[in-house]
Amino acid sequence: MLNIALPKGRLGEKVHDLLASVGYAGGDLSDMGRRLVIENESAGVRYFLVKPSDVAIYVEHGAANIGIVGKDILEEDRPDVYELLDLKLGRCRMCVAGPRDFTDDGSKVLRVASKFTNIASRYYTSIGREVDIIKLNGSIELAPLLGLSDVIVDIVESGNTLRENDLAVLEEIMPISARLIANKVSYQFQSQEICTLRDRLSEVIA
């Protein structure tokens, strides 16, 4: 039996549909409002829906054997897991964004608001820019509007939220998509099951 951690929300549903299409259906995910675990014994899978940022924690600690998680969270937390496959779902970009007319003239410490403080910090270290990073947990776009920060580092999907708030992408840091991850010990003991699932998925993804 493979224990699979899926991220709650739209991505989790898409991934479950994809897994169902290659023989790993778990059942109706809308049931998961109340039930925390859905099992399909004949397919040999048990799903738990968890907060997206917790998927890698469940997998790293072995509570789940495998999981699906965004590359943003893998880069931010750098959990000790195997990253087996790029599912090419939930594609977006990690970007620096700010007021459309903003240019960084380097004259003062740059104030950066982000939920992804490690990614932001590594990015600015790599280009040698001194920054003051402000950790926020949501509504990041508000920070430059209220003068809390000069720019933000955040995920950009369509760019609509940015446009509506007179913000624009200033730099692209990296592309993001959903990844299949595995616990390093589970991989050694259940490699056949895990690799079969990975191979079946890789055949159907674009």
Partner: protein, 302 residues
């Protein structure tokens, strides 16, 4: 009076059994001091699992650190004098815990063979690592790798040393898509990328993988590595031993075989080790070395 052994917990018994196993093979217990100069760890930072140490000033003003690792101290202190030294230790080390927010005192057991180390000693240490896992009476996996195989592959593809880190990261996380992307960025051709991906992602039981690893050799460094892997597998006599090139070792320290042990139901590996002649060179010691550590917190806990 109760039998003394009945008083011991299963974990304590495991430690005693491991000690008996090591002593029977002629290994003697090494007692290490609790701390070393901070400078020593700073110079060998890339060998340590974490850069964060517990530091304090000694009475003469020198900056000291509580030991985060025992192998470095043994390599420094036991390497000189020629001959062969067979040592094991049970010591507490001090490192950040898994959350990275607090320090933890971790009980670590390990074994080191230093000096005139030849084929016989290498096989003996591999066997002791293998037997240590077996002695837990749980399902286990023993995985082998060799530093020279992937570094030989990188050299055969003429990948400059400054570009290798990002590729090693992808190999260590079994990430073929990331490997392809990183290889494209440094300008490898499509053919080179497919060779790099196919070869470095090899993993599985030795009975399946070893032949492929031999077939895919591209230079004498890889051939030597593959031959040493075969010797190790045949010496241990278990075709279910895994070959896995995602086991990573810093070339500044490791020089040959590397290995990792897993127990079913645990979340992390419980044993790791390898040949570390290059560390001895770094310590200005003209000797060869192989050893392993057993993480008792992982082995016994949870």
């Amino acid at each position: 009076m109760k039998n003394l052994l009945d008083v011991l917990s299963p974990d304590e018994l495991t430690v005693l059994r491991l000690r008996a196993l090591f002593e029977e093979s002629g290994y003697r217990r090494y007692h290490a001091s609790r701390f070393e100069e901070y400078r020593f760890y700073l110079e060998n930072q890339s060998f340590l699992r974490s850069e964060t140490l517990i530091t304090f000033n000694d009475l003469d003003g020198r900056l000291m650190a509580l030991k985060p690792d025992v192998t470095l101290s043994i390599a420094k202190n036991a390497g000189s004098g020629g001959g062969l030294k067979k040592l094991y230790y049970i010591e507490n080390v001090y490192r950040p815990n898994s959350t990275g927010r607090n320090f933890a005192e971790i009980c670590q057991m390990g074994l080191e063979c230093i000096g005139n180390v030849g084929k016989t000693e290498i096989l003996e240490v591999l066997r002791l690592a293998y037997e240590s896992l077996k002695l837990t009476e749980k399902q286990f996996r023993f995985a082998l790798s060799h530093v020279g195989y992937i570094s030989g592959l990188m050299r055969s593809l003429r990948i400059a040393p400054q570009h290798r880190t990002s590729l090693y990261d992808c190999v260590a996380s079994k990430n073929p898509h990331g490997l392809r992307q990183a290889a494209e960025q440094i300008g490898l051709s499509a053919d080179q990328i497919s060779v790099l991906t196919e070869t470095s992602m090899l993993s599985g039981p030795a009975s399946d993988v070893l032949k492929d690893a031999e077939r895919l050799c591209r230079n004498s460094e890889m051939e030597r590595a593959a031959a040493q892997l075969r010797q190790a597998v045949e010496g241990l006599g278990d075709p279910n031993i895994l070959i896995d090139f995602s086991i990573r070792g810093d070339e500044d320290y490791y020089s040959g075989l590397m290995f990792t042990g897993y127990l079913e139901g645990k979340s992390r590996f419980v044993l790791s080790g390898g040949q570390y002649d290059n560390m001895m060179k770094k310590m200005m010691q003209e000797s060869r070395a192989i050893g392993f550590a057993i993480y008792l917190d992982e082995l016994c806990g949870r």
